[in-house]
Amino acid sequence: MRQVRLPLVGTIPAFRQELRRLIAANIPPDQVIWHRGGIGGGTGTDLFAAPATPLPDGPPIPLARDAATTIETALSHSDPERFALAHDIVLRLHGGTLRWGDPGDVPLRRITALAKAASREIHKMHAFVRFRELDGQARRRFAAWFEPDHPVTEAASPFFARRFGDMDWAIATPDITAIFQNGTLRFEPTADTAPPPADGAEELWRVYYRSIFNPARLNPRAMESEMPQKYWKNLPEAALIPQMIREAPARVQAMREAEIAAARPSGPTPRMAAVARQTAPAPAPEGGMDGVRHQAEGCTRCPLYAPATQTVWGEGPVDARLMLVGEQPGDQEDLRGRPFVGPAGQLLDRALDIAGLDRTKVWMTNAVKHFKFEPRGKRRIHQRPNTGEIRACKWWLDQELMLVQPQLVVAMGATAAQSLTGNGAGIMARRGTVEEIPDGPPVLLTLHPSYALRARSPEAREEAFEAIAEDLRRAAEMVA
């Protein structure tokens, strides 16, 4: 048997080096006894051990990153067999007789379990170390005492170095102490096992801990599954727990009784009158486009208002000679509160350009003023508004028509056509024609710009775009 003694500090790099030697020398796992720490790194205690003739260094062993990380993490577990287990697995991975991740391999499952437990302990150390401030210096100094279940101090400490970069600190654990001084992290065997004295902030922390607790939701089991009692002795707040649990039912009872004794009216307090003056809403604009727009913001004439962000009202000059009516706002229009600012709007802008129309001189609006959609994961899928929704919103479109009094309206797509002419069918055949409507300006029909985005083939999209541009050019001539 070969005895291998690993140092307390730097255990894992030392293991890696020894393992390379053992594998290069073809020494199988069952011929090795591993030790960590021990008296002065002296001779082994196994009487049958072979004298430790030093082996020559071996070459690095290539491992998949996932395998290397898991094995290394497992070495921070306290299981005395972890080194032999790691030796066996590295050997078989290296020899190609084991596939990393094979769920049927028992040692592999075991090392994964060790890695999981060690990694949990590292996480708990990150969570439950409590620093106490030492005497004042230019660079502030803190110290902590922590007792992990597994020898994870070296693996867990780089986290503290990244987090507490501008202070000096030391974390003492029963075997080794991590020391961070002027930006350098080092480890030493622990000399002093006395916890540092409490500092002033600890009492504030306890006040916070007590106050953030909601007695109406008492659930000590959930607490203990995440913060087991074994950690409590080094947590300054944990001493409060028994009392908090004991008093919780009485505190809830007191709240209930206060509620039932409703004799005590809940307000109005003297502050409320003063407050009412401050929070009075600004007077709503009356009449005109602003007044109608303001009314439309609170519209609940159809159910579409509920999930949508806002009413997307038309925009442009109130004396515009041309009005463009689309279907409804899309995702971007709904978020921004402005019509035609999404992808279809950008396409429309290009068509307007070709037609020689200035967007800022046109009243742009939609037949339906709220975005209708179905949520699908992180996206909202456009839904076509139904007849009832179109009819409900026609009221607002009529208000816009009355206020703007355009010479011509362009209805883009079936929904706008249905809203304005009462008929949304056969847009392909009707596009480019002008229809008369009772008590209103003539309506020129065209395709919706989003059709030119969504059509199947590139040719069909190009054709649709040309058609829209051509119809808009005609509209420009009609209002010129």
Partner: protein, 407 residues
């Protein structure tokens, strides 16, 4: 008024903050202070530094800047008509508490919220000031979550996003009528518009400007919101549908559900109830199914309310038995995710193992599946389910009815 000590203020202003459920401190931009130029790190998964006896974790210093408030929201302990004790931190006190707690490894950062004092803009400006001091003067690189005041101006929201990791705006109540009744000064429209504003700025920060420079940072950990459960009559189906619209529309990271909990000096318009903790738990499970398991809101609470006795995935499987059993070695990912007892990790492991060899019953245990739940719904070599048609299948999972005690 008597001068309150810092400790008194902390007690009042953390007590007032405990009804906000969010404690997330994960998923922000990666940063640290290893070079000694500042304090703090963030960007990994968040850490829960302590747990209180209500089973909730403490990850952030969750406090109100002040609990003075000019609003009168019935469910809130800090409403203007409440007789609760009032206090107000100075910005320096908040900065110093955050840093001192952080240096002792008590917290991951700050979750700052506030009652509305003077005006929404004044309040938001003070909160932004605290975040700016932490970041710019103190070089603080820990996590900052700011509860955004929905009526605050867009410029203040923009600044908040520059310093905070996460912004949140609470929708508070699941429906507009409920909000009108219980929170008369709040408007669902204003809240949604503010969430849209945050989403647009968050999206813009991910793009580079036309000059090729990176856009200024904006809340890298995104936005979240909170809904109070059980203060009104809204059904789970409506709540979940609402949540899915919020996830889709505003790119929310999380919707938090907060069981309405009796508060000291409660308003008379609220129900006298125990907080519906089990309902809250089921809503979180259902929410998880929507975000990670491909379920649609309408599928989960088909009958209005979630089943309190069995989890929503199992409930769905029990009422869709015709879609089972599922062949573990053939089914696509979407179907495997529907099997009760299979989590996303188990499914990933099944998919990774299948090309090498057939997955067997014993393998599933090692892959982390909960076989008690999965058994009736799967087939694989060496396993044929027997109980799928059994009328008492649900009873095998539901907790036994509580026996009445004789008196």
């Amino acid at each position: 008024m008597v001068q309150r000590t810092l400790s008194d203020k902390l007690a009042i202003l953390s007590d007032a903050a405990k009804y906000d459920a969010s404690c997330a401190s994960s998923g922000t931009s990666r940063r640290d202070s290893r070079d000694g130029s500042g304090l703090g790190s963030a960007g990994g998964s968040g850490i829960c530094h302590a747990y209180t006896p209500d089973g909730r974790c403490i990850s952030l210093l969750k406090i109100l800047m002040t609990n003075f408030c000019i609003y009168d929201c019935a469910y809130c302990i800090n409403r203007v008509s409440s007789q609760v004790e009032r206090a107000r931190f100075t910005p320096e006190e908040v900065v110093s508490l955050t840093l001192e707690f952080y240096r002792r490894n008590y917290i991951e950062g700050l979750f700052l919220s506030s009652g509305i004092i003077r005006s929404p803009d004044d309040t938001m400006a003070d909160m932004v000031q605290i975040a700016r001091t932490l970041r710019e003067r103190e070089n603080f690189r820990g996590y900052i979550h700011l509860k955004t005041i929905p009526d605050a101006s867009p410029e203040l929201i923009e600044q908040a996003g520059l310093y905070a990791d996460r912004l949140s705006i609470n929708v508070e109540l699941p429906t507009e009528p409920a909000l009108e009744k219980l929170a008369p000064q709040k408007s669902a429209r204003t809240i949604r518009k503010a969430m849209a504003e945050v989403r647009l700025r968050h999206d813009a920060a991910k793009e580079t400007t036309h000059t090729g420079r990176a856009a200024p940072r904006f809340a890298p950990a995104g936005q979240s919101t909170q809904v109070i459960i059980g203060a009104d009559q809204t059904t789970d189906a409506t709540i979940l549908k609402n949540s899915s619209a919020l996830y889709a529309g505003y790119g929310l990271r999380r919707v938090y559900y907060s069981a309405f909990s009796p508060i000291p000096d409660a308003s008379a318009v609220l129900p006298l109830v125990r907080p519906p903790l089990q309902r809250e738990h089921r809503l979180y499970q259902a929410d998880w199914l929507m975000r990670h398991y491909g379920f649609q809101a309408e599928e989960i609470a088909a009958e209005g309310m979630l089943d309190l006795d069995v989890d929503p995935k199992l409930a769905w499987a029990l009422s869709h038995r015709d879609q089972f059993p599922i062949d573990v070695n053939r089914a696509p990912r979407e179907l495997l995710l529907r099997v009760p007892g299979f989590g996303t990790k188990t499914v990933a492991r099944i998919l990774a193992a299948r090309p090498h060899r057939a997955v067997r019953y014993e393998d599933l245990i090692a892959m982390g599946a909960n076989m008690k739940a999965a058994q009736p719904f799967i087939t694989l070599p060496g396993w044929r389910p027997r109980l799928l048609d059994a009328p008492d299948l649900r009873a095998r999972f539901a907790p036994p009815a509580e026996q009445l005690s004789l008196f």
